[in-house]
């Protein structure tokens, strides 16, 4: 007896109108909020809310590799830590990294490696810290989406940004961007990360049960969603630079006036 009474399983994941428990259509993303540059100490940072996911990402680097023996003579080493706050999930999570967090740190790093111009910064590390403050299904994908923005915010040269989104199967139907409950009581989940212009899939995992044609259809849904998310990412950066430019212009004007 060391557990709280469990929240009940929802009776149905899709209602008669074809809507999901949070009112979404099957091919609809959850509400997304993206921000960059919130942290003072980090070289770059970003924040994403996707459904109830709340994820903060910081980038430090390129900086001197420490300890030195991890440095590589011809490129920067990318290091990545996906970590969940103890209060981010229903049952308190022990803060020591779990096997799941270690695996996700690896696949997230691998999803971002292809776009970072690591050969510009030999002997350094570029460190990515993804802190899941609240988790609601799809946190690895949301983490990748935010991490790309944090890298951009840190001024790390990249070919382009990576966006990620999962598609799943609930009650036999493919559904985009599963929430926690949908993931738990659904039948499959496929997280996908895409480098849109290069047309490269850099994250692909799956668990559950899918026929080949379900996979084919779901994979395509996920790729489309990645493109949508990539557009949002670019929008956020555009806004940021607009703000910076505006501020600069105002400063210039002020100087002219003065």
């Amino acid at each position: 007896m060391n557990k709280l009474p469990e929240p009940k399983q929802p009776e149905k994941l899709i209602d008669d109108k074809g809507l999901r428990i949070d009112g979404r259509r099957l091919d609809e993303l959850r509400p997304i909020k993206l921000e960059v540059g919130l942290l003072d100490k980090a070289d770059g940072s970003a924040y994403i809310e996707q459904g109830k996911n709340k994820i903060l990402v910081a980038v430090y680097g390129p900086r001197e590799a420490h300890p030195k023996h991890i440095a590589m003579p011809e490129r920067a080493v990318i290091r990545c830590r996906y970590h969940m706050a103890p209060f981010s999930v229903d049952e308190r999570k022990n803060p020591a990294p779990s096997r799941r967090e270690m695996e996700l740190s690896k696949v997230i790093r691998e999803s971002l490696e292809p776009v970072v111009l690591t050969d510009l910064y030999p002997r350094t590390t570029i460190d990515l810290f993804i802190e899941v403050l609240q988790s609601d299904g799809g946190s690895r994908c949301a983490g990748i989406t935010a991490a790309s923005l944090a890298l951009a915010d840190a001024g790390i040269p990249m070919k382009e940004m990576v966006a990620a989104c999962a598609v799943g199967k609930i009650e036999g139907k493919l559904a985009l961007d599963l929430s926690d409950a949908e993931d738990k009581y659904g039948e499959a989940d496929i997280p996908v990360a895409l480098v849109p212009n290069a047309g490269l899939v850099t994250l692909l995992q799956m668990d559950g049960h899918l026929t080949l044609s379900e996979f084919e259809q779901g994979f395509t849904m996920a790729l489309e969603a990645c493109k949508t998310l990539n557009a949002m990412q670019r929008e956020v950066l555009k806004k940021k630079y607009a703000t910076i430019k505006e501020a600069a212009e105002e400063r210039e004007e002020a100087e002219v006036v003065a």
Binding site: M1, P5, K41, H83, S88, R92
Partner: protein, 272 residues
């Protein structure tokens, strides 16, 4: 083993500026010696937690989350629940933090916040018992530092208290071998509202709420935690040098007023 810390190299010139300003009764961010940086408190950001609060203290940012679980009491306190305070100095928050098991700084931070709550008897431990000696509520207060610009103790102490005030827990009871929801929610029962106030000694001057730049040149640090009656419930001195007895006395007296001000801020924010 605890070792003399290696401070990040701060430019000597910058260091001197910070010290010289304090010596003149001024500070690098234009505050007075006895002023806090701007404080912002937001509660309830983490819906999955039983309570949460984020405190911005200047550029320092700390998030506290409460989780209430079911567990067994300690054998020597069968009629009390369990309180666990834990602080994580995640590497996201500072270039000086490293991934891995809690550093001594993280342990000290959590223990000072813990002592404030525990020694002021803020949380009514007896009310957490569901079945004496067998089943109790375990209250986890997890402190997550998101941006480290100095004086984490005060930020964490405020975040922890605000999160406790913000808490909402299902009413439970034990039936047979199971814990069941009775329906409804309540706040964690609080009897006190401790607030930590931290002072630094820079050169020969006592200042309140040191920023990171000030911490890097301070001689020593003193935290005084004050309860709702203006009494002391916890203290902690840190740093490589010391305080004169008179400096200690001055800080203790100053802490009472500062704590009251910050407590009012917390209550206002937490009750919304």
């Amino acid at each position: 083993m605890s070792a003399t810390p290696q401070l990040p190299p701060v430019a000597k010139l910058e260091q001197k500026t910070v010290i010289d300003l304090v010596a003149k009764g001024k500070r690098i961010d234009e505050r007075g010696p006895e002023s806090y940086r701007p404080i912002q408190i937001q509660v309830g950001l983490i819906e999955k937690a039983n309570g949460s609060a984020q405190v911005h203290l200047g550029k320092s940012k700390v998030l506290a989350g409460i989780k209430v679980q079911i567990g067994t009491p300690f054998p020597d306190t069968p009629d009390e629940g369990v309180l666990t305070v834990n602080a994580e100095l995640v590497p996201l928050a500072s270039p000086s933090f490293e991934a891995g098991p809690p550093s001594e700084a993280a342990i000290e931070l959590s223990r000072v916040v813990d002592r404030g709550i525990r020694e002021s008897k803020a949380l009514d431990m007896k009310s957490l018992v569901l079945q004496k000696g067998k089943t109790v509520q375990v209250v986890y207060v997890d402190i997550y530092v998101l941006d480290h610009d100095g004086n984490l103790i005060d930020a964490a102490s405020m975040a922890a208290l605000a999160a406790l005030v913000n808490s909402k827990v299902s009413k439970m009871e034990v039936k047979g071998d199971e814990v069941i929801n009775k329906g409804g929610h309540h706040q964690l029962p609080l009897n006190n509202y401790p607030v930590a106030v931290t002072f630094a000694k820079v050169d020969r001057t006592i200042i309140v709420d040191p920023s990171l730049e000030e911490e890097q040149v301070m001689n020593a640090r003193l935290t005084v935690t004050i309860d709702k009656n203006g009494d002391i419930c916890a203290m902690q001195k840190g740093g490589l040098y010391g305080f004169t007895p008179d400096e200690v006395r001055k800080a203790v007296h100053m802490a009472v007023g500062k704590a009251a001000e910050n407590r009012a801020r917390i209550m206002a924010a937490a009750k919304g």
